[in-house]
């Protein structure tokens, strides 16, 4: 077992949250949120990872061949979809805020 992927996930989550908390710009804040979310992708994929295993596609390899866990890949995909939806919505709101106030400061005036 290597702990590196888990350390990477923890780091991404921490810096993402730090960015959200300290941000002075809405776009920066939204991207920071995406960074924090990418930690969940790393975590999910590393949970299902096996060394020397193939992708979970058995079209041209023997079905007995070791493969990584396809379930976490499906979860990651769903997670990506949710994340993309939220990011798109947040960016749309940020555009509206900029249109009304001419500023992207999260604190407002």
């Amino acid at each position: 077992v290597t702990y590196l992927p888990y350390a990477v996930a923890a780091w991404l989550f921490a810096v993402g949250l730090y960015g959200v908390v300290t941000s002075r710009n809405l776009l920066h804040q939204i991207i920071s949120l995406s960074v924090a979310q990418s930690s969940t992708y790393v975590l999910l994929l590393s949970v299902g990872f096996r060394t020397h295993a193939t992708a979970p596609v058995f079209a041209d390899v023997p079905a007995t061949r070791a493969a990584v866990d396809p379930v976490v890949q499906a979860l990651s995909l769903t997670d990506v979809v949710v994340g993309a939806t939220v990011t798109a919505l947040l960016l749309a709101i940020a555009v509206q805020v900029h249109k009304r106030t001419g500023s992207l400061d999260p604190e407002g005036t």
């Binding site: 949250l17 959200v20 804040q29 379930v71 979860l75 709101i93």
Partner: protein, 555 residues
């Protein structure tokens, strides 16, 4: 045991959302309210029908478990889950009624978002799979974010929507991190399967503590329990009325419901030896939220912001009930959730309507949150009080009495203000909208629901017995066992002590109201809007505190 009805509470609102989008394209917008109303009523009716199919487990695509191993995805129908779907349908129906007169320019899109939120609510209540719970929660959350930002000309509501979406997304990340950790340990996503694997594994070690913290804190952020509540204060004071009704009526409640569901299907055996410690943490968080937010409510001038604090405070009461970690606590919390959720949604509707009708809704809703025994809030609180005494926390009900008195007075004070303004021919207290007849009809129906829920005492006892039967749930889901006779749990009822507590709270609320009208206690005239950064910083602090508490308790 299976039923063909199970998917319908999700399918009906989703289909209606598609129709509503077509309505926008075809420019026949006047049909939108009728379509949304019909769909919400239909969802409610199907959910009521599901109450007669409790014990059913529906495996989609026929992927039933083999040899006790679940690979497929299931809806598990139990009484409390089905009741959540009924409550969601009822509150969304009232929100649809309130929409035409409170939201300018509400086309098919607005109603479609209400419908996708309802589909998420129903799916969340019925899901027997942890990951699907997450997905359905996100469906309702994203719909709610978009509804919160619907009035794009109002910068305050846009900023509130940002805070709402950012904070709740952090909550969602925590939930999915917790799910990933539980999957890493158990290889399962089905609630019953995770629970059984964890029990067989027998370790309540750091990984389980970490996963529990992530899932519970993630859901408590969505429930707006202090210190995770900042987003709700801003959202409830600026978002469209129908969304605030749904937030007050069900969305916050569902965060606490999720904690209860995950605890009783997954975590209960692992934490069996640490019940007292976990109970102290949950009841402590709930009681702090209840009293703190109630104090904030009476000190806040602006009506909708005050109502937001009442919402937060009473979600805290709900967490106290669930935090007792007993069937009696779940039973009391279930009655309270229905009685209080409908009353709070009615209060939102009352604030949307100037004049005597709005004042009357606020007065009745205020009496309901104060614990007038006509409404189910009183019965639910009696159940929670009883569970607290059984858990050796007999002093906590005193805090709940204080909470009822303060939040009741806060709302009755608003009722008096609106009523007086109507007498003087004014448009009402600051922040109160003109409104039409829709909010009044919806609000009155909700208050009727709150009163009717007072008949649920016996029902809730049996429902909580089944809900808290971890082994029975797993046998039903994984081994295809027929619904087992639920353990006998006494019906939720009044005792002398709870009756006295309730009377003190009610009298206190009425007595405090004139003091509030004279401006006693009122201090916070201007509330600094919190930025998403503030809300996330507080959420981080709260999550760290929770993890520390759990780690210390389980060392």
């Amino acid at each position: 045991v299976t039923t063909n009805l199970a998917p319908l509470p999700v399918v009906v609102p989703l289909a209606a959302a598609a129709v509503l989008l077509a309505i926008d394209v075809l420019s026949i917008r006047r049909w939108a309210p009728a379509v949304a109303f019909a769909a919400a009523v239909a969802e409610t009716a199907v959910a009521v029908a599901l109450l007669h199919h409790t014990g059913s487990v529906v495996w989609f695509g026929g992927w039933a478990p083999r040899h006790g191993v679940a690979i497929g995805v299931a809806f598990t129908i139990d009484r409390i889950g089905a009741a959540g779907a009924v409550l969601g349908g009822g509150v969304v129906t009232a929100a649809v009624l309130a929409t035409p007169s409170t939201v300018d320019d509400a086309g098919g899109l607005f109603y479609a978002l209400l419908m996708t939120a309802l589909a998420g609510i129903a799916g969340f209540c019925l899901s027997g799979d942890l990951f699907n719970m997450f997905v359905f929660f996100e469906l309702m959350a994203v719909s709610a974010f978009a509804l919160a930002a619907y009035r794009t000309r109002d910068v305050a509501s846009l900023r509130a929507a940002l805070s709402f979406a950012v904070t709740n997304s952090v909550g969602a990340f925590l939930v999915i991190i917790g799910i990933a950790l539980l999957y890493a340990r158990t290889g399962a996503l089905n609630l019953a399967q995770i629970g059984r694997q964890l029990t067989a594994d027998g370790r309540a070690d750091r990984l389980v503590i970490m996963a529990t913290t992530c899932v519970v804190v993630g859901f408590l952020i969505k429930a707006a329990i202090a210190p995770f509540h900042l987003w709700l204060v801003d959202t409830a004071s600026s978002a469209p009325v129908p969304l605030v009704m749904v937030l007050a009526g069900v969305l916050d409640t569902l965060g606490v419901f999720a904690v209860a569901r995950v605890y009783w299907t997954v975590l209960a055996p692992s934490f069996a030896a640490h019940h007292a410690a976990v109970r102290a943490i949950l009841v402590g968080a709930g009681a702090l939220t209840a009293v703190g937010a109630a104090l904030a409510a009476v000190r806040t001038e602006q009506p909708r912001r005050r109502l937001a604090f009442v919402m937060i405070s009473h979600t805290g009461v709900l967490l106290v009930g669930v935090g007792c970690l007993s069937a009696a606590g779940v039973a009391g919390a279930a009655v309270y959730a229905v009685g209080d959720g409908t009353a709070k949604a009615a209060l939102v509707a009352g604030l949307a309507r100037a004049g005597r009708a709005g004042g009357a809704l606020l007065a009745l809703g205020g009496l309901a949150v104060a614990g007038a025994p006509v409404f189910a809030t009183a019965l639910g609180k009696a159940g929670i009080d009883g569970a607290l005494s059984s858990a050796g926390l007999g002093w906590v009900p005193i805090l709940l009495v204080l909470t009822s008195a303060l939040t009741g007075a806060a709302m009755l004070d608003l009722a008096v203000r609106v009523w007086r303004a109507a007498g003087e021919g004014g448009v009402g207290a600051g922040g109160v909208g003109a409104g039409g007849v829709g909010p009044v009809v919806g609000g009155a129906a909700l208050l009727g629901g709150s009163a009717a829920a007072a008949l649920l005492g016996r029902w809730a006892g049996g429902a909580a017995g089944a809900f808290t039967d971890t082994a029975g749930y797993a046998q039903r889901v994984l081994d295809g066992a027929a619904a087992l006779p639920a353990r006998a749990v006494p019906a939720v009822g009044f005792t002398t002590a709870s009756g006295v507590a309730d009377a003190v709270g009610l009298v206190g609320a009425v007595a405090l109201t004139p003091l509030l009208a004279r401006g006693v206690l009122r201090a916070v005239r201007r509330w600094r809007r919190s930025s998403p950064g503030d809300a996330v910083a507080w959420a981080t602090v709260g999550a760290a505190a929770f993890a520390t508490g759990l780690a210390v308790a389980l060392r």
